[in-house]
């Protein structure tokens, strides 16, 4: 579980995150949603430790980010897995090497054990037949699955996904969403997904945090969001004319 307590973050005197107070639950797919520029990515990067917050604290299963030294941050970061928007796979490495990479860099286990662990997660994301392929030879959906496999190969406690289905067709996007949700349950991890895709929100949003202009406006589940009673949330959810008509 990750608790966020009253955090603020600004860049060049411009406040990006203000009074953010929330919690992301373990074993659930937690979604951060909002329009572009609402502070979603900055919040995700603060949670990842890539940005330090100006004030407030982030608590990772009881461990506060306050007064953390570099080694403590490193310790926490090694419990994290991240799926980047563009997958961020290493171009010169094939699928197996990409997935094995964190094991090669951060563990001292035997070669065959590394291969076993990597193959296990590759099979989990249904890419067994593509292990020798380079990222450039994979489709967008396959690249995302490799990125997910690489993110979970170290058995992380926290999984972060930045727009995991951007650039994918709706059907593949749902497959990726469901895969992330299944992995969250199987590995019992705290998954935080940054998204503005309403399909994802409805499909897997067990805990949704809605941001607007750096503030947390609303928090609830996918069942509650369709009737949130909050004008700003409804404005976001029913942004298209078709959805507005359907609502009526």
């Amino acid at each position: 579980m990750i608790q966020v307590k009253n955090i603020y973050k600004s860049f060049d005197n411009s406040d990006i995150l203000k009074e953010i107070d929330t919690a992301f639950n373990r074993g659930q797919t937690n979604l951060i949603i909002g329009q572009s520029g609402s502070g979603k990515t900055v919040l995700l990067k603060c949670l990842l430790g890539l940005y330090d917050v100006d004030s407030g604290e982030i608590i990772y299963d009881g461990i506060s980010s306050k007064n953390m030294n570099h080694d403590d941050k490193l310790e926490i970061s090694r419990k994290m897995g991240m799926v980047f928007q563009g997958s961020a796979l290493f171009d010169s490495m094939n699928v197996l090497e990409n997935v094995r990479f964190p094991l090669d860099m951060l563990t001292t286990i035997q070669e065959n054990e590394k291969n076993e662990k990597a193959m296990k997660v590759i099979e989990r994301v249904n890419l067994k037949d593509a292990i020798k392929k380079l990222p450039s030879e994979l489709s967008g959906g396959m690249q995302k699955r490799v990125a997910i496999a690489r993110a979970i190969v170290m058995n992380p406690k926290y999984l972060f996904c930045d727009e995991p289905n951007s650039g994918l067709d709706p059907k593949t996007a749902i497959v990726i969403d469901q895969l992330i949700q299944e992995i969250t349950k199987e590995y019992n991890i705290t998954t935080i997904i940054n998204s503005h895709d309403m399909n994802s929100v409805i499909e897997i949003g067990e805990n949704i945090v809605f941001l607007k202009e750096g503030y947390k406006i609303w928090q609830g589940t996918n069942k509650e969001i369709l009737n949130s009673g909050n004008d700003e949330v409804e404005d976001f959810v029913y942004s298209s004319e078709l959805l507005k008509k359907l609502k009526k």
Binding site: S77, M80, M82, F84, Q85, A88, F90, P102, M105
Partner: protein, 232 residues
């Protein structure tokens, strides 16, 4: 950047692998172009020397002497380094820059890996072999001069005598000191421009151009300073 790249090192076997990869990409892959350039420019230098030493009172051995001095003191260490700023420098900037824009560097950082150590340190170590490339350049430059003189009709004995004339081994030392300084610049300045770049694919190209510009300028200025310190 340099300080961080030398601290919190990755596992030794990973670094060795990266260093060998960089030796291949930065040093061994440069030998072909350096060889071709050096051979032909050595030939051109000797022809121009011959053209300027037409006075029958001047010995033909001076052609070999002047070619050797030009190649060893200036052409091989400095001008090959400027060319390398284009070849190796733009490769370093664009490869690291592409990793930056495609979030691969962020991925390394999130994994808790010192990305500067993983990406920059092996390049600095690999470039310690750069004097090997310059040695080939010196040798082929002088050989190119010999061939050009033979084709021009200047006796090869005179040229060979010239390249042995008044040989001062300190000039070789000076040349290698310069080469090592330039090797460090060739590894670090392009890495800096790639690592700290911002933007998208177009900005990778801009960063490569900027990196070539600054690497060349720094090499030329350091060439003057090192020469002033070691030869004046």
């Amino acid at each position: 950047m340099i300080k961080i790249s030398f601290t919190k090192t990755c596992k030794k076997e990973i670094l060795y692998k990266q260093i060998f990869k960089e030796i291949n990409d930065l040093v061994l892959d440069s030998i072909q172009i350096v060889s071709i350039l050096s051979f032909f420019i050595g030939g051109v230098v000797s022809i121009q020397m011959a053209l300027n030493l037409e006075n029958p009172l001047l010995s033909k051995t001076l052609i070999g002497f002047a070619t050797r001095q030009s190649v060893i003191l200036e052409f091989a260490p400095t001008f090959i380094s400027i060319i390398m700023a284009g070849k190796v420098g733009s490769y370093i900037t664009s490869s690291i820059g592409t990793m930056r824009v495609t979030e691969q560097i962020d991925a390394l950082e999130v994994m808790g890996i010192n990305s500067l150590n993983y990406l920059v340190f092996p390049k600095i170590i690999a470039m310690l072999l750069y004097p090997f490339v310059i040695t080939i350049s010196m040798f082929l430059g002088i050989i190119g001069g010999l061939l050009a003189m033979t084709l021009t009709g200047v006796p090869s004995e005179a040229y060979i005598q010239g390249i042995q004339m008044d040989f001062d081994s300190y000039h070789i030392t000076y040349s290698y000191i310069k080469t090592l300084v330039f090797a460090f610049i060739l590894a670090t300045v392009p890495s800096f421009h790639g690592y700290y770049m911002k933007g998208g694919a177009l900005d990778v190209g801009k960063a490569s151009t900027k990196s070539f510009y600054w690497t060349s300028i720094i090499i030329i200025i350091l060439n003057y300073i090192v020469t002033q310190l070691l030869l004046s």
